[in-house]
């Protein structure tokens, strides 16, 4: 067990180091962007005195290293700073937006992950026969169509023609839980279609790979049914690659849904980030960048940990 603990500790430490490096990258990236933050806040009408005042107020005259550690120190204490454009506390504004994004990502994952794995298993069970081909064709088609187009198509047929679900997925605090679910039905469908193929194909490939092994043949020879062989012998040994691709897609559901948020007018992180990038609101961009990086690194870390734990050679060292 000691070896596993060491491996896990290493993995977590590596992730933290990575996050730290990313924070440097984000900070340097936003510093070397052309244009001065004070200048972009004040605009064309800036007088030299006003510029100097604002630069002092924002601490822009300090050396970059001091500013970086001040920023990092703030973040470690949960203080993301204030937005330049609105003067509001970033942590508060991001809190709601991040909550919305996670709400959407969670329900998309709840639908997409089990469905993808089930379809993957089904495709293996009937491989090279019509269910396998049908599943592959449909999921590959849905991943190949740009997601905004899927959005428009669902919007037109399900919302405008059939009137089943609203085309605008705007949620707010006064809505009840079921109202919210109803509102996000269409974006959940689109996101499911977008991430389904990747996870399904990976599940299918990983299990097929395992199916070549001698112990699968043994299982078949001792008379287990097709699905039982997959469930009891193939799937547990294919977990590592499947979890990897699932985590990758979960990360996409959190950080990559800007287009879907715009199409369905969903008040999540993506729209918030884009609005602030176009106004050069650097503190918000830095905060969003760091949160996205943390989500990505965190989910990949979970994937690594799961594959370590699911590896029997690591769990039962000689």
């Amino acid at each position: 067990m000691g070896q596993v603990a060491t491996l896990l500790a290493q993995r977590i430490a590596l992730s933290l180091l990575l996050l730290f490096l990313v924070s440097i990258l984000i900070f340097v990236g936003t510093i070397i962007l052309p244009g001065d933050v004070a200048q972009s806040i004040l605009g064309q009408s800036a007088t030299p005195e006003a510029l100097a005042n604002l630069r002092a107020e924002l601490g822009l005259n300090d050396p970059p290293l001091t500013r970086y550690f001040a920023w990092l120190g703030g973040i470690l204490q949960g203080d993301l700073g204030t937005a330049l454009t609105s003067g509001q506390d970033i942590a508060t504004s991001i809190g709601t937006r991040l909550g919305n994004t996670l709400f959407l990502a969670f329900w998309a994952a709840v639908v997409a992950v089990p469905l993808a794995i089930f379809l993957g298993l089904l495709a293996v069970r009937y491989r090279d026969r019509w269910p396998d081909k049908l599943i592959s064709a449909v999921t590959l088609a849905s991943i190949s169509i740009p997601e905004f187009l899927i959005g428009y198509l669902l919007m037109y047929f399900i919302s405008v023609r059939l009137g089943w679900f609203p085309s605008v997925a705007m949620t707010n605090d006064s809505m009840g839980f079921w109202d919210k679910l109803n509102a996000i039905a269409l974006p959940v469908m689109v996101l499911t279609l977008v991430v389904l193929a990747h996870m399904m194909r990976m599940t299918r490939a990983a299990i097929l790979n395992v199916m070549q092994s001698a112990y699968i043949e043994t299982a078949e020879l001792k008379g287990l049914s097709g699905l039982d062989v997959i469930r009891k012998h193939a799937f547990p040994n294919a977990i590592a690659p499947i979890v990897n691709v699932v985590m990758l897609n979960l990360a996409y559901l959190v950080v990559g849904v800007v287009v879907i948020e715009v199409v369905f007018v969903y008040p999540g992180m993506g729209q918030y980030l884009v609005d602030h990038v176009s106004k050069r609101d650097v503190p918000v961009v830095q905060a969003c960048g760091l949160i996205f990086a943390a989500v990505y690194i965190g989910l990949n870390m979970v994937a690594d940990i799961v594959s370590i734990l699911s590896n029997p050679r690591l769990r039962h060292p000689k």
Binding site: S45, S86, M155, S167, V168, V265, P267, Q271, D275
Partner: protein, 527 residues
């Protein structure tokens, strides 16, 4: 509709069919004029506004980074939100004149250099505070002092002094301006308690609604102000959603989630209008799409080359193919019938022979470089390609350079000698010309410097005899038309749409988009 008469009655109730048209069509169905007249009256009575209910609307243009401070308002969403809670001193009326809001009346001195506004008695802000002339003065000062970042700053430059005199607010101008009251209708100049100095973004004003929920760039909810002094506003609740994506906005209307949207894409407007539960409205406005040449930069410093390029423009083709008919042809001046004191000039039309003649006379050799981008106006690259074709027929070779959207307004517009752009228009001719055609204007994007024009502009500003003013503006229009660097192929209409759940939208209201921003107030939910 099963019965054509029912359908016509519906059109009358919706304010879309006149008495003359109704009687004409009714007689085509074999109904006598007297009978038809009675029926028209009945149908029109059905158009009486209904109080109460919620109107939901979706507009383009809002962003998470917006502020509620009216001084910083730049987009349609900000305009519409301001219209809920705030009011200016005066406002445009249906015929392009002015009507008092926070000011109940106004008058100017004989030479138009002093203006006096009488502040309406007994009206209160939504926080219960009474409106005083001091609040008005503070508001005007906030928009015009040195630290001001107000979008109305440019309008306030000629104001020398603002002071309180009893119930009046008096404006002293550095130079006479007969249009000063029009400037006061600007949507940035909302009267706020203490001018909004304490809390510029508190959204407290004298408007017919009070903001209840604010989620910047996402959603706004406003409820009727029970203490509003006037009779504006029928619905109890307004819900405004920000939907920037064109397709999503149209879908929200089609699926019945909202009752009113702006900017229906001209390309699909006719398709949208085919739905039985949707009405598409078009209103001509002062907004126009332009091809602008710098009059002081070679080769465009040659008047003959400018004329050649003007004659090479097929204006009607652009209206048909770029605006899909939702607009009207321009005449190489920034002014159209949407402006007061407008005089129609002789229409310049596509004439390859004249274009070839002037092009030859200019002595220019080789191609002309035109820069364009997607965001300079909707369909600009298409318009540039059509222009290239019509110019080629006159032997003029136009080279098109497609510029990126990002940075177009800082790197290309007002910087490069020939490019595509747009103007939203201004309430008066004086403002439009002062903003972009005066020699010293910051936004003189055609580098048009004409002494005679400048003199006329100042003279017209001070002239209080409307007939003389009208003549001066006609002369100025002629100068820009002949000498200027502006090729104005088209004025774009505002294309907006409502669901049949609501009534009261009227086409042709002068001013800004959406019935000058008052569409939600004038509309009601059908009983």
């Amino acid at each position: 509709m099963t019965n054509p008469l029912d359908f016509m009655a519906g059109r009358v109730s919706a304010g879309k069919m006149s008495r003359r048209e109704f009687i004409g069509r009714a007689s085509a169905l074999g109904i006598g004029a007297a009978m038809a007249n009675t029926m028209f009256a009945q149908a029109a009575r059905a158009a009486t506004p209904v109080k109460g209910g919620t109107i939901k609307m979706a507009f383009q243009g809002g962003s998470t980074t917006d502020s509620l401070d009216p001084a910083l308002a730049t987009n349609t969403v900000a305009l519409m939100v301001i219209r809920f809670w705030g009011e200016p001193l005066v406002e445009l009326d249906k015929s392009g004149g002015l009507v008092g809001k926070v000011a109940e009346s106004f008058e100017g001195s004989a030479d138009a250099s002093t203006w006096r506004f009488r502040i309406r008695d007994g009206i209160t802000f939504s926080n219960g505070q009474a409106v005083t002339p001091e609040d008005v003065v503070a508001t005007m000062q906030r928009h015009s002092d040195d630290e001001s970042k107000s979008g109305a700053l440019g309008l306030m430059r000629d104001i020398k002094d603002i002071r309180v005199d009893g119930r009046d607010v008096v404006f002293e101008l550095t130079s006479p301006n007969a249009d000063l009251p029009y400037l006061m209708s600007d949507y940035h100049l909302m009267i706020q308690p203490n001018g909004g100095r304490d809390a510029p973004d508190a959204a407290i004003g004298t408007g017919p609604y009070i903001l209840k929920e604010v989620d910047m760039g996402v959603r706004f909810v406003a409820e009727k102000n029970p203490n509003y002094w006037g009779d504006l506003g029928h619905a109890d609740t307004m819900e405004l959603l920000v939907i920037n994506d064109n397709t999503a906005r149209v879908a929200a209307l089609q699926s019945g989630q909202v009752d009113l949207i702006d900017r229906v894409p001209p390309r699909t407007a006719k398709l949208v209008a085919r739905a039985p539960n949707i009405d598409v409205h078009q209103t001509s406005g002062p907004g126009h799409y332009v091809f602008i040449m710098h009059c002081d930069t070679a080769p465009f410093d040659n008047k003959d080359l400018r004329l050649a390029l003007k004659y090479a423009m097929n204006r009607q083709e652009l209206v048909d193919k770029v605006l899909f008919g939702y607009g009207s042809v321009g005449n190489d001046t920034p002014i159209n019938a949407a402006y007061p004191l407008f005089t129609e000039l002789e229409q310049r039309s596509y004439d390859p022979e004249k274009a070839a003649f002037h092009f030859k006379k200019s002595g220019h050799d080789g191609s002309v470089l035109l820069r364009t981008s997607d965001n300079s106006f909707p369909g600009a690259p298409d318009a540039a390609a059509l222009y290239q074709q019509s110019a080629a027929a006159a032997g003029i070779d136009i080279e098109i350079k497609r510029e990126p959207n990002d940075g177009y307004w800082s790197e290309v517009w007002n910087a490069q000698p020939f490019c595509t752009s747009y103007w939203g228009g201004r309430p008066t001719q004086d403002q439009m010309y002062s903003t972009a055609y005066l020699s010293t204007a910051d936004w003189n994007d055609t580098r048009f410097k004409n002494e005679q024009f400048d003199q006329l502009l100042f003279a017209a500003r001070a002239e209080t005899d409307q007939a003389k003013r009208k003549q001066m503006y006609a002369d100025m229009g002629q100068i820009v038309h002949d000498e200027g660097g502006l090729i104005c192929p088209m004025f774009n209409d505002f294309v907006e749409a409502t669901s049949t759940r609501v009534s009261g939208f009227v086409e042709g209201i002068p001013g800004q988009v959406l019935m000058n921003g008052y569409a939600p107030h004038q509309m009601w939910v059908n009983a």
